[in-house]
């Protein structure tokens, strides 16, 4: 069956290399990560509903299931 041959990529490779890095590289990586998240916030600011309060208030659902 064709579906069985498709396998997800293996996990865990990136973090193993992280563990072996000296402290300074870890700090640098963290800094890079933080700056990436800041870029992300800028992107999210662009798409986030402008009136958050109204948006949140008007999201009313009925129960389901």
């Amino acid at each position: 069956m064709a579906q069985e041959q498709k396998q997800p990529r293996r996990s865990g490779e990136t973090e193993e290399t992280t563990q072996d890095l000296p402290e300074t590289d870890v700090a640098e990586r963290k800094e890079a990560l933080d700056s990436d998240v800041d870029d992300l916030l800028d992107e999210i600011d662009d798409v986030l509903e402008t009136n958050a309060e109204d948006f949140v208030k008007s999201f009313i659902q009925k129960g389901g299931e």
């Binding site: 579906q3 996990s11 973090e15 990436d36 998240v37 986030l48 999201f59 659902q61 129960g63 389901g64």
Partner: protein, 503 residues
């Protein structure tokens, strides 16, 4: 057994009509389903066949009387709400006040991810089509589980199990697992309590809505272990475990681990491999306590008096699963190994620093965004902007949904590519009876009067009565069984003739 098993998910989507907060959600949900059905189903629309449905059948061995049931439990009454079967074998319909997508039956966790994600694309396509209809207002769909005002709607999983496994065994071994698996499959939520009255962040969307340990209900007094027992298969051999405690996940790894680890635990229960009692003291309270602590340091108490974190309790299950696969499973398949490896990797990194899993798990990805907003803008947890981020994370539109933005910018790990997911919008899985259902809908739509999980009903020219083909065995009707037969039958009459002649 391994992670392979007959499984499926059902997700109810949150629904909002833009600019009309008081719009009737049943009407809007019907517009969604009808818009998709009209556009994609070229011929007559097959009805859902309710004959085999029994929502009041209890796994503990009795039926609830219809008179004492809450009206919301009578899901087998056709209320005239939109309800269609798709060519991929899935069911798209209106359940109460939400559009719902039920995946076809599949055999592997990765196929669950594939069809669960295909469901998102079907919903997206449906919403876009509904917006183009005359008088159609823009409808936005959310893959989440609460409005943070007291309402919750479900994301259910289904696992076919051996009937011979005592239900009490399932309850005792599965409950501690369900209470703690949220550490990797929680979807994250801003707000504590059913109506979000207290401020803060928690791991799970659903934890605060569970009130009892075991029960039949899904809409009130929600139980950690649901006892609904409609196997949609031979009831002598199988029960269907209907799991209502999960969150609707967007992250593929969260969905994959949710289903893969659960399948492994079920295999261990069926094979009587779990002998240690890990039962919790007060599982309902433990479920909330775990959810309310995103630092993952909260401990829960076992009945034997031991205290343990959710991560360590998951570790107990992982250790046993590794031993089980080593000792009891021959020719271990790649997905089983991959689920074990990822499970271990995620638990280990969550223990070091949960943020190490921001590329894989919903609740961590969401928390990372929220935490940066708090740091940058000095926001408290009651700030509407943070609640908006929570909601908008689940918006399924690629241009607006925050999860979708994470994917688009490569910040979330994927297990599948878009082409694989898009194909699953239309093509059924090949290794279950969903193949037969889907292909019949695709090829003989004119002649299919109704269908359900366990039947396809034909209305054939020249025959007065409808002809019902039962599909009671989920592992029959696969491509290997009927692929050539369907390929070679130009009409439904030919197919029916060849099927019944052989029987």
């Amino acid at each position: 057994m391994s992670v392979r098993r007959i499984m499926g998910t059902e997700v109810e989507y949150g629904i909002a009509v833009q600019g009309q907060p008081l719009a009737n959600p049943m009407v809007a949900s019907s517009q969604i389903v009808n818009a998709y059905a009209t556009a994609t189903l070229t011929a007559r629309r097959a009805r859902w066949d309710f004959e085999e449905e029994s929502p009041l059948r209890d796994a503990r061995g009795f039926d609830m009387a219809r008179q004492v049931a809450d009206p919301s439990q009578l899901t087998d009454e056709d209320l005239g709400l939109a309800n269609v079967i798709l060519t991929n074998g899935a069911r798209l319909y209106v359940d109460h006040a939400h559009p719902e997508f039920s995946t076809p039956e599949v055999l592997t966790p990765l196929d669950i991810v594939r069809f669960d994600k295909a469901g998102e694309q079907v919903m997206l396509d449906a919403a876009r089509r509904a917006a183009t209809l005359p008088g159609g207002a823009p409808i936005v769909l959310y893959k989440n589980n609460t409005d943070n005002k007291g309402a919750s709607y479900g994301a259910h999983e289904n696992y076919l199990m051996r009937r011979s496994t005592p239900f009490a065994e399932i309850v005792s071994h599965l409950t501690p697992f369900f209470v703690t698996r949220q550490v990797f499959c929680g979807a994250g939520r801003v707000g504590l309590g059913q109506d979000g009255r207290e401020h803060g962040y928690q791991i799970s969307q659903r934890a605060d809505f569970f009130e009892v340990e075991v029960g039949l209900e899904t809409t009130l007094k929600r139980p950690i272990i649901n006892t609904r027992d409609e196997p949609h298969a031979d009831p002598q051999r199988f029960r269907r475990l209907h799991v209502i405690i999960g969150d609707a996940n967007l992250a593929e790894v969260s969905t994959y681990l949710k289903v893969g680890t659960t399948a492994l635990v079920l295999a261990m229960i069926e094979d009587r491999f779990l002998t240690t009692d890990l039962s919790l003291e007060g599982p309902v309270a433990a479920l909330r306590a775990v959810s309310h602590d995103p630092t993952l340091r909260q401990t829960v108490t076992l009945r034997d008096g031991r205290t343990i974190t959710a991560l360590d309790l998951q570790g107990e299950y992982l250790t046993r699963a590794r031993a089980y696969v080593e000792q009891r499973v021959e020719d271990v398949d790649d997905q089983t190994r991959d689920v074990l490896d990822r499970w271990e990797s995620v638990l280990e990194r969550l223990a070091r620093d949960p943020m190490l899993c921001a590329r894989e798990l919903d609740w961590v990805a969401k928390l990372q965004i929220l935490q940066r907003y708090r740091d940058r803008d000095g926001l408290d947890w009651d700030d509407a902007k943070l609640q908006a981020v929570d909601l908008q994370y689940a918006d399924i539109r690629p241009e607006k949904g925050l999860y979708q933005r994470l994917v688009a910018s490569g910040r979330i790990e994927r297990l599948l590519d878009d082409a694989e997911v898009d194909a699953a919008m239309h093509e059924p899985p090949e290794d279950t009876r969903a193949y037969f259902r889907g292909r019949c809908l695709e090829k003989y739509a004119d002649a299919v009067a109704a269908a359900s999980w366990d039947s396809v009903i034909f209305d054939l020219p020249g025959r007065e009565s409808l002809q019902r083909i039962p599909t009671i065995d989920p592992l029959r009707g696969t491509k290997a069984h009927v692929g050539a037969l369907i390929d070679g039958a130009d009409t439904a009459q030919q197919l029916f003739h060849r099927l019944t002649r052989g029987a």
